[in-house]
């Protein structure tokens, strides 16, 4: 990969690497920003979705007549009103837009209603009569894989099966001095964004449809909408920003197609859908619950020699990104280690349990808890230091990973472990642990490390694109497809642009997530948007510098080589040209005021057979150290301190990195201790935030972030790479191990609720009584 001509040395950087305030901060903090679902217009009508009454049933008939007769109802649509293909799904479109003959989960949509008010729309839903014939409900992924289970899709219940084999595990297990083997269960986490799924749309008199709906890839959403509508995508505009949080939950189509369909039937009036929290719980995408069976072997000296993994992911009724999730899980199931013999296998399985899809971490969360717990167990049996065993087994740049490929990009694990070892919490852990406030409380300190691929795997095109336009007021409009989902990429783009254009950051405006105003630059997922979008901006910006230079040269009648790019202006022989003048000149001469930058992500050339896209070329790495306090009387666990040590390459914005590290840590705490969407027999037991427990500020500990920066990634903008997901991963295993360190009880089933911890302690007490007899 060619070195960017824009890499300046540290001292000369004005914006990159500096604590720059979020450009979208003030309006979000003050509440001034209006999300698209906040908007209301006088002539707006309300859209509502009729969901399935049962998790698995045949639809015998749908009667809408009574509902149609209700005063105030504008239209009622069924599958018959879909002009194009009745399905959606990022990888395979197996989810019906509106079900016609079968429902496979209670989130399934059957009818759409538009009405003068929300209440009338709700009333209309009640008046629609759907006759069902109940079918057997598939509630368990393991059972779904057996021959006797009802088949939910034509190709059976196994949506995907991935496998990676390297070396010879059977021999290694015979050679091994230590083998640990366990099964881990992980919860169905909800994204719990502040803004539930929703948006509005309108069709103009010429039939042009505009959809205002938060998403994570407007250009792809448009294609999915066009397919269902059998409509020219050029006649559809999708505006996907601003967004009240996404975390992967708005990667798939949410309500965009419903909005578009309704807009075709409301006589040009805008139509809005906004899911209630209850509906979002049922119909929104969740994190895949996994069952992970793992068997890990080591030699006496702590060298890992084999790992066997079997992971089963419950994708619910439809695939969405389930196949990619299980593939990424398997790719990461051995941790950032070099284990010579591995036998890894993953299944993504259909059930009638809602729908699972993309979520920050994308399968890695569920396997990290296995391998990291095993490392601790092995270290304990060998009486070996927990940092030492990891240092011994991590791969370094240029070494062969467990998957058998040479890791060519930067690898920071070792450095993060060194930093962890020397941080105050780890060094003084004995002292901290003894400082409990009450005699029945126990403290534990533990660490874990993990990694996460950046960008798409092999087999998926992965590119970035950005444009920069000079505006009449002399400002630059930086346009990137990747949406601002709250991670702070807009500020990163502004920093990169300001740095290269040599202007003040206030001179940069950023527009994102709009098919009419931004180029297609891929998703805001896969920890890729700062890296990819930032690199695309860094590719476009020199073109703008060239345009400015050439124009200034023309204006001043000097050769371009005489032009100096100064802060906020250009200069030749003491004559200064400002940006407004340049715009004016271009405008008067009918010349383009816009430049573009395109970038293709570096990829590995050879795919590991059967892996579903592994390996990635690039990974971000991170080590977490945590301290917990367990109340042994109740099982309540407090995370008291977190140290987050990311290897993000060059940090574009330390404040932004801390935001990610802190938010990720809290999300990881929620995953480990509190969160689960409980579904029984296909019906949701969890209704809303009354019983879906996410951490509040009182569950938020002191979180310190110490980035490792001496491994810049050459291909990234100024040496940056992605960090948006790994920030929530190792903390999961670290908390689990810290609970063990505190109490001696291991929890294999998350979330580690007070009840689960208490019961594990009870069990431990029984065993101790028994063994001391």
């Amino acid at each position: 990969m060619k070195q960017l001509n824009t890499t300046k040395n540290e001292q000369s950087l004005n914006w990159v690497g500096k604590r720059v305030k979020r450009i979208d901060g003030p309006e979000k903090v003050t509440g001034e920003l209006k999300y698209m679902t906040d908007l209301h217009f006088d002539n707006m009508v309300w859209g509502k979705v009729l969901r399935a009454k049962y998790p698995h049933a045949k639809i015998k008939s749908i009667h809408t007549l009574n509902a149609e007769k209700l005063p105030g109802v504008v239209c009622i649509l069924t599958h018959k009103d879909i002009p194009g293909f009745n399905g959606f799904g990022i990888v395979i479109p197996d989810q019906p837009v509106l079900c016609s003959n079968i429902v496979r989960c209670t989130g399934d949509a059957i009818c759409l209603v538009a009405a003068e008010s929300e209440e009338i729309a709700e009333r209309a839903l009640e008046l629609i009569d759907v006759e069902y014939e109940l079918l057997e409900v598939v509630t368990d992924a393991e059972k779904a894989m057996t021959a006797s289970a009802p088949q939910l899709h034509p190709d059976g219940n196994i949506h995907s099966h991935v496998k990676i084999k390297n070396g010879n595990t059977e021999e290694a297990f015979i050679e091994a001095n230590i083998i640990v083997e366990n099964t881990f269960y992980s919860p169905r986490q909800m994204h719990a964004f502040i803004e539930t799924e929703g948006g509005w749309s309108v069709m103009d008199a010429d039939g042009f449809i505009t959809i205002h709906c938060p998403g994570q890839y407007a250009h792809r959403d448009r294609m999915q909408i066009a397919r269902a509508l059998a409509y020219n995508p050029e006649r559809i505009r999708v505006i996907s920003s601003p967004i009240g949080g996404a975390f992967g939950g708005k990667d798939e189509i949410t309500v965009q197609i419903y909005l578009a369909l309704l807009a075709m039937h409301t006589n040009g009036r805008p139509v809005k859908i906004h899911l209630s929290r209850e509906e979002s719980v049922i119909a929104g995408i969740k994190r895949h619950p996994f069952k992970v069976h793992m068997k890990t072997a080591a030699k006496k000296d702590g060298t890992l020699i084999a790992n066997e993994v079997r992971a089963v992911a419950d994708t619910g009724a439809y695939a969405s990104l389930g196949g990619a999730v299980i593939a990424l899980a398997i790719e990461h199931s051995c941790g950032p280690y070099k284990i010579p013999n591995v036998n890894l296998e993953g299944f993504c399985v259909y059930t009638n349990n809602g729908i699972s899809g993309a979520f920050r971490g994308f399968g890695v969360n569920q396997v990290c808890m296995g391998i990291e717990t095993h490392l601790d167990m092995i270290a304990e049996r060998l009486n070996m230091d927990k940092v030492e065993i990891r240092k011994k087994n991590v791969y370094h740049q240029g070494e062969i990973s467990s998957l058998g490929h040479i890791v060519k990009s930067s690898v920071g694990t070792f450095k993060t472990l060194e930093l962890a070892e020397n941080c105050d919490l780890w060094k003084n852990r004995r002292q901290y642990k003894s400082a409990v406030s009450e005699p029945w409380k126990k403290r534990g300190v533990a660490l874990a490390t993990s990694f996460h691929g950046i960008g798409m795997g092999i087999g998926l095109p992965d590119y970035g694109a950005a444009s920069i336009e000079i505006l009449s007021d002399g400002k630059f409009l930086v346009a990137v497809g990747c949406e601002e989902i709250g991670g702070g990429n807009s500020t990163a783009y502004a920093q990169v642009a300001a740095e290269i254009l040599n202007c003040d950051i206030n001179n940069i405006k950023v527009v994102q997530g709009d098919t009419s105003r931004t180029l297609d630059g891929g998703t805001v997922t896969a920890s890729r948007s700062t890296y990819t979008g930032g690199r695309a901006v860094a590719t476009a910006a020199p073109n703008m510098v060239k345009l400015l230079t050439n124009t200034a040269a023309e204006l001043l009648n000097v050769p371009p080589s005489k032009i100096e790019v100064l802060p906020n202006c250009l200069n030749a022989n003491g004559k200064v040209v400002n940006y407004q003048t340049i715009y004016q000149y271009l405008f008067e001469h009918h010349r383009s005021t816009r430049v573009e930058g395109h970038f293709i992500l570096p990829k590995e050339k050879v795919e590991i057979e059967g892996s579903g896209g592994a390996p990635h070329h690039l990974y971000g790495y991170l080590t977490h150290v945590v301290m917990v306090e367990v109340d042994t009387l109740t099982g309540e666990t407090d995370v008291l301190r977190v140290v987050s040590i990311p290897d993000a390459g060059k940090v574009i914005n330390p404040q932004g990195l801390e935001g990610q590290a802190e938010g990720g840590a809290v999300m990881g705490i929620g995953y480990t201790l509190y969160e689960d969407v409980v579904i029984e027999n296909g019906f949701h037991k969890t209704r809303n935030f009354t019983d879906y427990i996410i951490p509040t500020i009182r569950e938020t500990p002191l979180i310190e972030t110490f980035p490792v920066e001496d491994t810049p990634e050459e291909s990234g903008p100024f040496g940056a790479k992605g960090i948006g997901e790994v920030v929530m991963i190792p903390i999961i295993a670290a908390i689990m191990s810290a609970i063990y360190d505190a109490t001696g009880a291991r929890i294999y089933h998350l979330p580690a609720t007070p009840e689960r911890i208490f019961n594990a302690l009870k069990e431990l007490k029984k065993q101790n009584v028994y063994s001391s007899r």
Binding site: R123, L633, T634, Y674, D691, T696, R698, E699, P754, E755
Partner: protein
Amino acid sequence: MLVSEIEVVTPATLKECLTMIANEDMNTRLIAGGTDAVVRMKEGKWRPSTWVNIKGLRELRYIIEKDGAIHIGPLTTHTDIIKSSLLQKKANVLVEASREVGAIQMQNVGTIGGNIGTASPAGDTLPALYVLNTVLELSTRNSKRIVPIEEFFTGPGRTILKKNEMITNIIVQPHGENEIGIFQKLGPRKAQSISIVNVAISLLMEKDRQVLSGKIAFGSVAPTIIRAKKCESILTLHPLTDEMIQNVAKVAWKEVMPITDVRATAEYRRDMASSLLERGLYRLMRRWENK
């Protein structure tokens, strides 16, 4: 009843309010802070034809000492209770309970009358009111009656309150010189959570760790709040050493009859009745010794 069809009336005085709810033709329900009422309305459970909005009735918002008792107006918010130096000094167990209701936002608008009116077995101020020997004044337009709190609830969400009646005064017995109390709550997290189990304890101490008499009330482990009478009688047998505390706590397990729901299993609730009692008594003894 659609939400948009529900009327809201706002009486200016208590008298006006009592007249409104006396109207047989109107399907009314009181709304104070609305932190339970609005949630239940949204769920479709409480849809009266008219909300009687009493939030502004200043005359029902007070905390005063009178004839050896403390009178608390039903419109007193949890924040009022938390900030009251009178209650901090003489009924701290109630202050601690109010501090555990939701979080600051809920405490600022939620009222004690509403907490009682909702009659949830998990209502956090209720066990505290039990151990403070609370009596409620219930008024209609032309009558008043006084009912001990233990007789007020008939089941989850159910009370003896008649349609034309409302709570107008909450009278608690303050703690004397040698009386101490504590409230303990276990929820799925520290704030904004419904109790899995809660307990209020009030002890009259003799000297050292000897208890003269004690009251223990559990929430969330039975259809209404319940007193743990066996534990209460065992409390006085021996000085409350750490070992004795454990013995008393074990008995709590037998006094409760919880159910399983999304938040916890019955078995865990049972165990937690013991744990919270143990934790509470331990902390209370620490406080007593540091007094």
